[in-house]
Each structure stands twice: as C-alpha cells, then as structure tokens.
C-alpha cells in the first residue's frame, strides 16, 4: 500500500493514485474524454461524432482585438425589474423586433 510520510499524514491521508499504480484493471483517464467505444477483442472504434472539431472562422478584415480602451470605464448592464439578461421574455421581445420580419 502506498502511504505518505509522517508530515503528510496530517493533511493527506492517502496519496492519489496514478495510472502507473495498482494491478491490472485499474483505469484512470487523463481528461481527454471518450472518443469511441471498445471492441470485445481489445480494440477501439472511434466514433467521429464524439471527436471534437475546431471550427476556425476567417479572420480577414476583422477589426476587433481582445482589448478595449482603458479610457472607457467597465460597463455593466442595467435591467429593470425581473428582466435580466437571461430572461426569455426580453429575448422574445427582441426577436420579434429584430427577426420577426415585420
């Protein structure tokens, strides 16, 4: 059994297991996520619907930068009453005005 040294015992009762410890059968992932499924013969079939794809837009002529001028103070939204930025009513109202085609 892997045990910590005396000073560590106070704050850490047991060391966190790594992928290299323990016998057969102990699996510990590495935050990559599941990309498919295992076959009964030990293989792996990739499910391309699970694989992540990065869609990069065309940045030609894009004028915005990650920064805003410091002369402008930090703006905060003002919402009256119960209507906040996440309210569906406000969303619907704006949609009717902007996208309702009338």
């Amino acid at each position: 059994m892997v045990s910590p040294t005396q000073p560590l015992l106070r704050s850490l009762r047991r060391l966190a297991l790594t992928t290299k410890m323990v016998g057969k059968g102990y699996y510990k992932g590495n935050r990559t996520g599941s990309m498919g499924r295992h076959t009964r013969h030990g293989g792996y079939i990739i499910d391309w619907n699970k694989v992540r794809t990065y869609v990069v837009p065309d940045l030609k002529g894009f004028m915005l930068t990650p920064f805003v001028t410091k002369k402008l103070p930090y703006t905060r939204g003002r919402y009256a009453g119960e209507e906040g930025p996440m309210s569906g009513e406000l969303f619907l109202k704006r949609w009717k005005v902007e996208n309702g085609q009338y």
């Binding site: 869609v55 894009f62 930090y74 703006t75 939204g77 930025p85 569906g88 949609w95 996208n99 309702g100």
Partner: protein, 241 residues
C-alpha cells in the same frame, strides 16, 4: 655464379667447418660473422623504432613517412547553399508578433487595454463573438510561445507584463463564454414561452410570427411571408440575438 667466388681469398680461409659448398646457401651464412664485415654491411637491419631521433626541440622528424601520406587527401565538398526558401505567409509565423523579433520589450507588452465587459459583448453577434474568441486564442498562442522563449533565454524581465496581458485576454474569453451561455438559457426560456404565445406559430404551417397589432389595423394586408420557403422563417426563430 657460386657464392664462394664472391668471397675474397682471405675470407675463404676463415670459413667455418660446417660450411656447405652449395650455391643455394645464402651469402649471409657463408660470410664471416663479424659485425663490420663488408657483406654484412650490405644488409641493413630494419630500424623498427619509429621515434628514433625524433625531437621537437631540434626539429628532427621521423625517418619513415606517415602511413597516411599514401592516402590521398580528401577534397572538400562543394559549397552547398543550405538556405531554404521560406514562404513569407507561412502559417507558423502566426505564433510570432514580428518575423525578426521573438520577445517584445516590457514597454510594448504593457501597452494593452482592458478586457471586454460582459455588457459590451452582449450586443455582439455570433459571428463577431466567434471571431473575437479565435483572435484571443491566437494572441494567447503567441504569448505562450514568448513564455517558452523567455524560459529558454532567461532575460530576467518581461514576465510580469506578459502575465498581466494574458490575464486580460483570458478575461475577454471568459466574458464571451458567459454571454453565449446566457443567450442559450434565454433562448431556451423564450422557446418555452413561444409555445404559449398567441402571436407565434410554432407548428410549421405558415409564418412563425404574426403580430396581432398588424392584423387588427390592416386585415387585408397580403401575406408576403407565406411565399418564402418554410425553413427560412424557422431558421430565424432559432438563431437570433
């Protein structure tokens, strides 16, 4: 010619008893065995000491030439221009600010604004937010490259300004994600409300939005929206803001 005839008459008298009068015997055996005898002098012993008399001080060189002297010296290879033609628009240049400099000065790094606020980003369209996100990603990639270079070169300065700049970019990215999440939640709620909204028709037959005010004022207004394909108005309903 007999070997015995080579000898002088005096030497012949001094022949050893076991000498054989045979022409096949070498002259070395048949001659007198003194070190200064003339025939002996004809045969020089091999001086196997290569460093005999070699002196750096007196500039005395070895008697035998170097064995490598027999081998011809290799000719130097032809000068080959190893420069590769680099495309000035190569994608990897995207990891650097300028083509000739790797690290910016702390003064240049300090010249940046503040991060976008959530309210400012709420006004932006999906396309703008998408492009702004990737601008932030590319900028951060440049900064990570600079970080690696700073680790390698260890100039001793510049890390503080770079870190504060990176922090602002990360805040902008956080705000973008915040806005998109808010929009998604608002859309979900709006979708639920639309089902009970009388002005909105979610069945798919006919136009999605029919404002009641318009109907009351001009009931005979021709329905232009019905000429559009069915998917157009529905597409607008799902992707708005």
């Amino acid at each position: 010619m007999s070997a015995l005839q080579c000898l002088n008459p005096a030497a012949r008298l001094l022949l050893p008893a076991r000498c054989i009068y045979s022409p096949s015997v070498s002259s070395y055996l048949l001659t007198a065995g003194f070190h200064n005898s003339a025939p002996l002098a004809a045969h020089k012993t091999q001086d196997r000491s290569k460093n005999r008399g070699v002196s750096a001080i007196h500039r005395k060189y070895p008697k035998q030439p170097l064995s490598v002297a027999k081998v011809a010296l290799p000719q130097p290879a032809d000068v080959v221009d190893t420069r590769i033609d680099i495309d000035p628009d190569h994608g990897l240049y995207g990891f650097f600010k300028a083509k000739d400099t790797v690290l910016p000065t702390p003064e240049d790094d300090h010249k940046h604004g503040r991060a976008w606020s959530v309210e400012e980003l709420r006004r932006k369209s999906w396309e703008d937010l998408h492009k702004l996100w990737w601008t932030c990603v590319k900028e951060r990639n440049i900064m990570f490259t600079q970080q690696l270079e700073r680790k390698r070169l260890d100039p001793g300065f510049g890390a503080f300004e770079a870190k504060s700049r990176e922090r602002e970019i990360a805040r902008t990215q956080r705000a973008i994600k915040h806005v998109l999440t808010e929009r998604y939640y608002a859309w979900q709620e709006a979708l639920m409300l639309a089902k009970s909204d009388l002005e909105i028709n979610m069945t798919g037959n006919g136009p999605v939005y029919k404002p009641r005010a318009l109907e009351e004022s001009t009931p005979d207004l021709p329905d232009e929206v019905s000429e559009l394909p069915k998917g157009a108005s529905e597409g607008k309903a799902t992707a708005s803001g």
